[in-house]
């Protein structure tokens, strides 16, 4: 079987500042992030001949190309659903590059997710009672945090997982964010007591379990392994990649417990020829902290039901046994729908993270609900 193994690399990353009130358009921020990523790769905008986007992103590829001074694109595409797109866009881009359809693809995300439309309120994600949402929204199941809380509550019931385990995730990522000057929560450490006394939003989830809605943009460039060898930084190779779209994911025909991560993990590790024990650093899509616990189980870092105890005592912090979301993740850096995890793992594998994991060679990142995942290596 032909695979993507090591055929392509991520060669440049770029970000705007992350804040709560950008005062800029999403297009304007996208241009800055794209220019930074292209310059970081040692390329010029005219080297970019493909751009792919989140379906949810308001910035069209053509507008971005115009602002970058790129006359036309040979390849463009997009992917939904919202939280599942980032790793899938890497796969889409890498396939096109590996086939020779395009040379250098820019992947970007730009969103005024705090000063503009806030995902946490459900105003973007509700479907107004259409389709399968006719069976959920009329009951007041309207926002992503509620669905995550349903799963979290069940995990507590089945495995004895405690709120303190969710809190351990929140505290760990905040500690990581305090190492990252770009994190919105940099300089604002929290304790378990802070966590437990913070406001309850979607019981059993506290506000500190929720992604930090943010304004900002980020981007990265994907090219072939051959071209990557001659660029500015050491390439970060896409060693394996996999996607999963669960049947009936938008409804509730089965239990809400299902996650794509457990389904794609065998293929992901198999293609890379590595095991979870070989992974040095992880970037998990953390829209809510309980998903970290279930993802650690899904990807085989621990047994089913043991994710709660696994995150205790700083194990997933920088300096711990398995550092996860070393930039602070969505909980404490900024919520840019899985893009910041990819960028941070690239930095780690280049040895350029402000929260550097010493000697990191192999990283794993995933997208919302395990809908896509990558193993990256330096």
């Amino acid at each position: 079987m032909s695979t993507l193994k090591d055929k392509c690399a991520i060669v440049g990353v770029g970000e705007t500042v992350y804040n709560r009130d950008s005062g800029r358009t999403e297009l304007n921020m996208a241009v800055e992030a794209a220019n930074r990523a292209i310059a970081d790769a040692g390329l010029v905008p005219q080297d970019i001949d493909g751009i792919v986007k989140f379906t949810a992103d308001s910035t069209p590829q053509g507008e971005l190309a115009a602002c970058l001074g790129i006359p036309y694109l040979r390849y463009y595409g997009e992917l939904g659903p919202l939280g599942g797109a980032a790793c899938g866009l890497v796969i889409q881009s890498a396939m096109a590059v590996a086939q020779g359809v395009v040379n250098n693809v820019l992947v970007y995300r730009s969103v005024n997710g705090r000063s503009g439309q806030r995902y946490g309120s459900g105003t973007v994600t509700t479907r107004r009672g259409l389709g399968s949402s006719a069976f959920t929204e009329p009951y007041g199941l309207l926002v992503p945090g509620q669905s995550s809380a349903l799963r979290a509550r069940r995990h507590m019931h089945e495995f004895g997982t405690k709120m303190e385990h969710f809190g351990a995730v929140a505290v760990a990522f905040r500690n990581n964010a305090c190492l990252n000057p770009k994190a919105i929560m940099h300089g604002r450490p929290i304790t378990m007591e802070d966590y437990l006394t913070s406001r309850m939003f979607f019981d059993p989830l506290h506000i500190l379990d929720c992604a930090l809605e943010a304004d900002g943009a980020n981007a990265f460039v994907i090219t072939s392994a051959e071209r990557a060898a001659n660029l500015k930084h050491a390439p970060v190779y896409i060693t394996s990649a996999a996607q999963t779209l669960l049947a009936g994911m938008d409804g509730h025909g089965r239990s809400w417990d299902e996650s794509g991560g457990a389904l794609l993990a065998p293929e992901l590790f198999g293609e890379a020829g590595v095991t979870p024990q070989d992974i040095d650093v992880v970037g998990f899509y953390d829209h809510f902290s309980p998903v970290i616990i279930t993802k650690l189980e899904d990807y085989g870092f621990c047994q089913r039901g043991e994710g709660g105890p696994f995150v205790e005592r700083g194990r997933i912090e920088v300096g711990g046994e398995l550092p996860v979301n070393t930039s602070g993740g969505h909980l404490s850096e900024a919520y840019l729908q899985g893009m910041n995890q990819i960028i941070e793992v690239v930095r780690q594998l280049r040895g350029q993270s402000p929260a550097q994991v010493e000697g990191a060679e192999l990283g794993l990142v995933d997208s919302g609900d395990g809908s896509g995942a990558l193993i990256l290596r330096r």
Partner: protein
């Protein structure tokens, strides 16, 4: 009209029968005539075997609370003046899971495993929502 501000179901040809029967205070579920499995929400095909040979079966409407969430902050305008708001996922005897609300039960009294049965709450002339109440209350 406890759900006046939440989106109302927009029935379509695949699920109109479900809502029509709710108006008559009957809960119906889709069952596959080939593999006999139930599915929900109603779809044109069976997710187990892809058969389009499906029937509507009246459900006794009994199940257990599988999990639940209590919303405590007005994250969306629809929650104003109705907090705390409990949403339950009910595991029906037929095996399918339904999202719903418990009537006559404070959000803080919801527990996993609670035995529940269906009741019907008319929202308007077109829409009646199946909800649940504790058995033996």
């Amino acid at each position: 009209m406890t759900t006046a501000n939440f989106p109302l179901p927009v029935p379509n040809l695949d699920n109109q029968e479900f809502w029509d029967q709710c108006r008559q205070h009957r809960l119906v579920l889709r069952r596959c005539l080939d593999c006999r499995s139930f599915c929900h929400p109603p779809r044109p095909n069976c997710p187990e075997c892809a058969s389009s040979n499906l029937e509507w079966v009246e459900s006794p409407g009994k199940g257990k609370v599988y999990t639940y969430v209590i919303t405590r902050q007005p994250v969306n305008p629809a929650f104003r003046e109705r907090l705390p708001w409990g949403v339950v996922e009910v595991e029906m005897e037929e095996g399918v899971h339904l999202i719903s609300n418990l009537v006559d039960c404070d959000a803080d009294d919801i527990e996993i495993g609670m035995e529940v049965e269906v009741v019907f709450e008319a929202v308007n002339d077109e829409i009646t929502l199946p909800k649940f109440r504790r058995v033996g209350q």
